[in-house]
């Protein structure tokens, strides 16, 4: 059993550019992140003996970087794949399979240069029982449960819009965020309709970018120039590749496994959490995450955010980089949530939460299809 603080993140970096990167292909965005993370912690490519990535096969990555690793993880379950990579890598290092794992993300989501996004197979269950009815990308699928949630839990359109407003406040403090100008609930509700009840300001960005992490044992981490960020607890799960088959439209079964598993392994209570990242591909995600991870009771998250608990100055700072809604969203945003948790634990975030010691980073993959959660601390 992986013990809390046994493994640490020693290297972390995003791509040099972010947003629109027309000069790099998908695989080069992985490599740019990887080289930046290696530089961050003073390692060479040849020091890496384990790799994990999603959106490219790990074979592509290993060949491109010029290494023949002892440990390989190609878990590709969408945007939370990187949380799951962290979990598997920590277990692998603990078990002695390898010593130094590189996890990369890179996605030419906007420029679409060498992007690996296959069309749904018409013989798959989703191809047979969802695609014929006209869902066309995440904005028309991820959002489908929300009217049901609103009816059953009493969430208002204004509360849903407010999620974007609060995250824009965080983005305003982050020079790398794509959108930084303040917005109001009225601005959100008057913005262009995408798929009722979702408007453009309630949907994530589509950008180019990437990020990479380097993990090793806490013992070795002491010798690195960076402040170690320790892994306290981890969790993962999957539910269904079809949004229509999600068991409960007001709650994610995968969230309810991944989140509590990570919190329990970390041995922490909700009151111990100083900083929270909940992958926000769309405005409802933080609401589902807050409830499924137990920070709020069912139906209370909309009001919790409205009461400014997650806003700057609130008791539970959440999505402090501005999130997928305002910071960046390449397609698989989970790596950027992890990067912000690491920055907060290192004390280097643009909107730094003063004295933060525990960060929970919760990811979603596909359309409520998968989930991964990592609990970090900066206390040895």
């Amino acid at each position: 059993m992986l013990k809390p603080r046994e493994i640490a993140i020693v290297g972390a970096a995003e791509t040099t550019g972010l947003g629109k990167i027309p000069g790099m292909s998908n695989i080069q965005l992985h490599a740019d992140s990887a080289l930046n993370a290696l530089k961050d912690c003073g390692l060479k490519v040849s020091d890496i003996d384990g790799i994990a990535c999603a959106g490219e096969s790990p074979t592509n990555l290993a060949h491109y970087l010029g290494i023949v690793p002892k440990y390989v993880d190609g878990t590709g379950v969408g945007g939370c794949s990187f949380m799951i990579h962290v979990r598997h890598a920590a277990a692998a290092i603990s078990a002695g399979l390898c010593t130094t794992v590189l996890i990369t993300h890179g996605e030419s989501g906007s420029s679409r240069i060498g992007l690996n996004r296959p069309a749904p197979n018409p013989a798959s269950l989703a191809g047979q029982f969802e695609m014929p009815y006209g869902p066309f990308g995440p904005p028309t699928m991820f959002t489908i449960p929300v009217l049901r949630y609103m009816k059953e839990r009493g969430l208002t359109h204004e509360q849903l819009a407010n999620v974007s407003v609060v995250q824009r406040e965080w983005a305003a403090m982050n020079p790398r965020a794509r959108f930084r100008d303040p917005i109001t609930v009225e601005d959100v509700l008057n913005s262009r309709m995408i798929a009722y009840p979702f408007r453009i300001l309630q949907c994530c960005l589509v950008t180019d970018g990437g990020g990479a992490l380097i993990l090793t044992s806490a013992e070795r981490a002491k010798d690195f120039p960076t402040k170690p960020v320790y892994i306290l607890g981890t969790g993962e799960s999957v539910e269904t590749p079809m949004i229509s088959q999600m068991k409960d439209f007001t709650s994610s079964a995968a969230f309810r496994v991944a989140g509590p598993t990570a919190m329990k392994a970390a041995g922490i209570s909700h009151a111990d959490v100083d900083h929270l990242m909940i992958y926000d591909a769309f405005a409802h995600l933080p609401i589902y995450g807050l409830e499924d991870l137990g920070f709020c009771k069912p139906g209370e998250a909309g009001a919790f955010i409205e009461a400014r608990n997650t806003a700057p100055g609130g008791k539970l700072p959440m999505n402090t980089n501005g999130g997928g809604l305002s910071y960046t969203h390449t397609g698989m945003y989970g790596m950027f949530a992890l990067q912000e948790s690491v920055r907060q634990m290192r004390g280097t975030a643009p909107a730094q939460v003063k004295g933060a010691k525990v960060s929970v980073c919760h990811g979603v993959g596909g359309m409520f299809a998968a989930s991964g959660t990592i609990v970090f601390t900066n206390e040895a």
């Binding site: 014929p132 006209g134 959002t143 489908i144 009722y196 009840p197 949004i243 088959q245």
Partner: protein
């Protein structure tokens, strides 16, 4: 008449009976013969238990509107605005579909409204299970 550019399902050995049923205008579901539990989409065993003691039966075609979005943008085979809906069948399972004979507006599409099956031909081989507001 449905737009032929709509994405077309490709049946597999495990789902062929469903599409054969739709061709005859019948919505076929499967259930666990031991517990009576109904499940969807089709597979030759009960999800969660693996039991193969199952049977195929004809569903009533009655459903309620469970949730939806109204897509404001065009997609291949569709003219906006159009609702992408999930209905809950009387027998329990939910499925994605479109709601026809109904304005595609939040005012007309009311959650929990009763619906009925409208088997709708896509081409010679595929008939889709669409739904409309229940009459009477």
């Amino acid at each position: 008449m449905l737009d032929p550019k709509r994405p077309k399902p490709l049946p597999t050995p495990e789902t062929q009976h469903f599409w054969d049923g739709m061709k005859r205008g019948e919505l076929l579901l499967q259930r666990d013969k031991d517990t009576g539990e109904v499940y969807f989409p089709p597979r030759p065993f009960v999800p969660g238990t693996g039991s193969t003691n199952i049977e195929v039966f004809k569903a009533s075609g009655k459903a309620i509107l469970y949730s939806y979005v109204i897509h404001a943008n065009p997609a291949p085979g569709f003219t906006p605005p159009y609702a992408i809906a999930v209905v809950q069948l009387e027998e329990g399972p939910r499925m994605m579909t479109n709601i026809v004979d109904c304005p595609q507006t939040p005012e007309a599409l009311v959650l929990d409204m009763p619906l009925e099956l409208v088997p709708t031909e896509l081409d010679d081989t595929i008939t889709l299970p669409l739904f409309r507001p229940a009459k009477g």
